[in-house]
């Protein structure tokens, strides 16, 4: 048995700080983790918020105008919309990547890493574009 391995305390429990600062996760793992986080955010609370907005905007013309001219002008609301757009864009792009992986497209190490970076960059670009349109 190798002595270096024997000295390490085992089992190693993965805390959040270990994930963030001790262990360098590959970019593919980050895509997977962010897919979970964005999915969780979308189901709660973002879906409820979007339904609330859809409800208000369709209920009456005053409601529609209120959403467009008052509600969407609020900085906190804009920030919330950016969180929504990033979550949706990331979940969408990462989801497409997973579907392609299921079809055995790009499953080698290098293409898988490249597509992970593409997912991150694309979702950030979509968010930035939306933010630019919003402000």
């Amino acid at each position: 048995m190798s002595t270096a391995a024997a000295k390490k305390p085992r089992p190693k429990y993965l805390s959040l700080s270990a994930l963030l600062f001790e262990i360098r996760m590959p970019v593919t793992a980050w895509v997977s983790g962010m897919h979970r986080i964005s999915g969780a955010l979308l189901v709660f609370p973002l879906a409820a918020w979007l339904l609330y907005l859809l409800d208000m905007s369709l209920a009456s013309e005053q409601g529609y105008n209120h959403v467009r001219d008052v509600y969407f002008k609020h900085p906190v609301v804009k920030l919330g919309l950016l969180v929504f757009v990033w979550s949706y864009a990331h979940h969408f792009c990462a989801g497409i990547r997973f579907l392609l992986l299921d079809l055995n497209k790009g499953i080698d190490k290098q293409p898988a890493r490249v597509s992970s970076y593409v997912v991150f960059v694309a979702s950030v670009l979509i968010t930035v574009y939306f933010g630019w349109r919003l402000w």
């Binding site: 979970r36 969780a40 189901v43 709660f44 879906a47 409800d55 369709l58 013309e61 529609y64 579907l99």
Partner: protein, 113 residues
């Protein structure tokens, strides 16, 4: 007792449902994006008219059902991984089932008002 409790097929239904619902939602998202960004400039009349059309109501309902199904599988996976002890997980399962059911009901109410 002919229930097989071992083997690789357990979860295959969820696996397929997760992907089929994902594709439905992706297609709807792209259509929605094209309609909103590429069409007439949005106003209340345009917006209201869009959601009054039969195909849009059905497509949106299909999206909502896909979302509910997709989210339920996703939430279940996440809770199984992180929510301990089992009593907490069970409680959260029930809460999320209610939330997702409420979303569906709310969507139908908005679409057929």
């Amino acid at each position: 007792m002919d229930r097989v409790v071992v083997g690789a097929h357990y979860g295959l239904g969820n696996f397929i449902a997760q992907r089929v619902t994902a594709v439905i939602m992706a297609v709807y998202s792209v259509i929605m994006l094209v309609v909103v960004m590429g069409g007439r400039p949005l106003s209340y009349a345009v917006w209201k008219d869009l959601f009054t059309q039969g195909w849009m109501r059905v497509a949106t309902l299909l999206f909502a059902i896909s979302l509910a199904w997709h989210a339920w599988i996703g939430v279940k996976e996440i809770l199984i991984d992180y929510a301990r002890p089992d009593s907490l997980r069970f409680t959260l399962h029930v809460i999320f089932a209610l939330i997702i059911a409420a979303y569906l009901g709310w969507t139908i109410q908005i679409l057929w008002r």
